[in-house]
Amino acid sequence: MLSRTADNLYWLARYVERAEYLARILEATQRLTAMPLAYTGETNEWESAVATAGCSAAFFSHHKEANEETVTDFLAFSPSNPSSIRNCFEVARHNARSVRTALTMEMWEAINGTWLELKRFGNKSSSREEFLRFLQWVQGSSLRFDGSAYRTMLRNDAYWFSRLGVYLERADNTARILDVKYHLLLPPQEHVGGPLDYFQWSSILRSVSALTAYHWVYRDSLKPWLVADLLILNEQMPRSLASCYENLVQNLDRIAGAYGRQGPAQRQARTIRTRLQNARMEGIFQQGLHEFIGEFIDDNNRLGAAVNQQYLA
């Protein structure tokens, strides 16, 4: 297939995934900040939302202060933030239009319908209720698009490239949450927190839609080291780094199989997966959670570059 087509499909999937992630962060943050200070501590959750979205530098070049108004506007609606939810959908729809022949009717209708409806929401929400409805609509739209891709696309390179977009973006998103919140996820022997941190942990799980999953997997009350385990190493958890890499390796292998050639992207993905498979949380804590996550984000970016170089350029 055309490299441009593959590139468009890959970024289409990434942007739709990113929009959903932003919506989850905003929803979790809104929830956390609505609580009395005594339960959440003194940190500025809005600032941490911007950091988790990975756009602190861009944000502070436009705004002096991170508060509910500036952050929701910047992450959800702002045209000057290339990764705002609005821009994510705009770019996704533009990409979809350029590769319409590679999309199924259902995918096109999902993304085109989202784009048309986006106009209805305008540039600002009049109330928290309305904004929450918007965030839920964003998550629903992303699910609809992803579901129609899953249900209707032929299982060929077009599908595999769009999956690569989903999983690279998802791995990056999960890693960024961990990067910002690592100080809350301490190993058992250092744990000094009390009920105060409970809401922070549940908020983290909420932003990756894993609060219920946690209880099913560990059958335990919220423990920070288990939260870290769930998000990093647990292969059952669809947004964990391990699960993302399981999927990346699979999809890259299918592409290599169809094209009859392995390349740097396949090798890099496999190396990262093996590292995640062999890792234990104790070891990661010993090495330093922050360092581990920082390295992972860099590796993940390098894999993105390798995929780009090998197939999309």
């Binding site: 297939m1 055309l2 490299s3 441009r4 087509t5 593959a6 533009h94 239009r97 350029s98 319409r100 022949t101 096109w108 209708e109 085109n112 390179d157 490239f161 592409i255 094209y259 197939y311 999309l312 350029a313």
Partner: protein, 474 residues
């Protein structure tokens, strides 16, 4: 203009229903107006859902709108289509021979059939193509010939579209929608199918691959991109053809060969169905500011390694100044009388024509040779004395710049309007495909209809709509 009575394709001039329309006319008498109205709305919904829109992009806001679709089909009898088909084949054959000659031996110029200055001083003439061989001597692979009708037997060619004619997606989608909405109407007729057009187009394009190409040549469709107003048609056709829809950036030229960038590395391209104008094809040969084209494409083309459909420089076949010479051009190459007539045209560059035009300005339409979109034009029957006098001066000052034609009464077809069903003026654009083996025409074409009462303007930008065109099987 009110003086001229138009020929109605359903009721003729005398009000008697013509045989081809018998079943439709009966159906129209039976069908309740609200049913017709309901179907009409349903058709619009379908068009929106499928997304057959024309993009109109402004500075900031992008809008996409529909071309109005009229649900009452236009019907041509088998015999009428036979004549049209033979006429179209003959005309396109002549156009191809003419293009080969213009960029080759130039016998038509030497014989004095077409004045040299009209060719050499014409901006659409491409000197780069002089002496250039094109694969299998075919220049015009896809032609859209605009035809109008003035009575039961006479079709005129109004215009030859020899560059990148569009509208074929409407021909195909209109039929799809009609099949869905009016199955009972189809069961009362035997309508020749058009749905094989993409197949015929692909066969045509593959047949003209250069000799160096492999047994199964790679065909691509080159679009200016998503911002082009006809982008929907480009993606629609690529999809139906099963070929890659490429933009300039997807192609590159290396060692005189055109490749496309794919996820499996460079892939050689043999035939490019291009929907980009000559000017933008190759920044190295034409407009250097073109970001739509492919650097080096002309050199690959000149080396004979790739086929461009249509060829470069076909504009010299559909130019307004050349049009009036087409009947003589056709006779010159084929030794036959044209089956489809030209609209009678007076060339003001010739003194006796000029004298006639000056004497009859009140009844003629006078056009600028290089004008378009109706600018710099005189419509005699609707102009006042002062306008005619002013135009007379312009005409005398520079007669070479003008041609004149009679005001035509385009035929009408029954059409849904606010107040029910009424006759409206129509034209027809059939699509003619020329391959190495033969000429292919699917029976039908795009019928455009002027929805405003009395209007002769069928352009979509000015309130025109489209209709499905039915050719009845014998």
């Amino acid at each position: 203009m009110a003086l001229i009575t138009a020929f109605d394709e359903m009721k003729g001039l005398d009000g008697q229903v013509r045989p081809a329309y018998a079943a439709l006319s009966q159906w129209l008498a039976e069908v309740r107006p609200e049913v017709l109205d309901f179907r009409r709305k349903e058709a619009e919904l379908l068009f929106r859902r499928i997304g057959i829109t024309f993009a109109v992009y402004g500075e900031a806001e992008a809008t996409e709108r529909l071309i109005p679709f009229d649900v009452i089909p236009r019907i041509l009898a088998a015999k009428e289509w036979d004549t049209l088909q033979r006429g179209l084949e003959q005309r396109v054959k002549a156009l191809n021979l003419y293009l080969k000659d213009i960029y080759g031996k130039r016998e038509v110029l030497k014989a004095g059939i077409v004045p040299e200055d009209l060719v050499f001083q014409n901006p659409v003439f491409r000197p780069e193509m002089n002496g250039q061989k094109v694969p299998h001597d075919i220049y015009l692979h896809i032609a859209g010939i605009d035809v109008v009708r003035v009575d039961a037997d006479t079709f005129y060619v109004l215009e030859d579209n020899a560059r990148t004619p569009s509208g074929v997606s409407y021909m195909l989608e209109n039929r799809e929608i009609m099949l869905r909405l009016f199955p009972e109407l189809f069961s009362r007729h035997r309508v020749a199918p058009v749905e094989n057009y993409p197949d015929e187009l692909l066969a045509t394009l593959k047949s003209v691959a250069p000799d160096v190409a492999s047994g199964d040549p790679t065909v691509v469709l080159l679009t200016p991109g998503v911002f082009n107003s006809a982008y929907y048609e480009h993606s629609f056709l690529a999809d139906k053809l099963g070929v890659e829809l490429v933009e300039g950036g997807d192609l590159f030229v290396k060692g005189g060969i055109v490749y496309m960038r794919t996820t499996q590395g460079p892939k050689r391209v043999d035939v490019i169905y291009r929907r980009i104008d000559d000017d933008f094809l190759d920044p190295l040969s034409f407009r250097p500011d073109s970001a739509l084209g492919v650097a080096g494409l002309m050199s690959a083309y000149q080396a004979g390694n790739v086929t461009l459909a249509n060829a470069v420089g076909t504009g010299i076949a559909d130019d307004k100044a050349i049009y009036s010479y087409m009947p003589e051009v056709l006779k010159f190459y084929l030794g036959e009388e044209p089956i489809l007539k030209n609209v009678p045209t007076w060339r003001c560059r010739e003194p006796d024509h000029l004298a006639y035009v000056l004497d009859h300005l009140e009844e003629l339409v006078v056009k600028e040779v290089h004008g378009s979109g109706g600018y710099g034009m005189l419509i005699g029957p609707t102009a006042d004395k002062a306008q005619i006098a002013a135009f007379r001066i312009r005409l005398k000052l520079n007669p070479r710049n003008f041609i004149a034609q009679p005001t035509l009464a385009l035929s009408t077809c029954p059409t849904c309007v606010e107040a029910g069903v009424a006759p409206r003026h129509v034209d027809l654009r059939p699509f003619v495909l020329t391959g190495r083996d033969r000429i292919r025409i699917v029976p039908g074409g795009l019928t455009r209809v002027a929805l405003k009462q009395g209007s002769l303007v069928v352009n979509s930008s000015q309130g025109g709509g489209t209709k499905d065109t039915w050719v009845l099987d014998r």
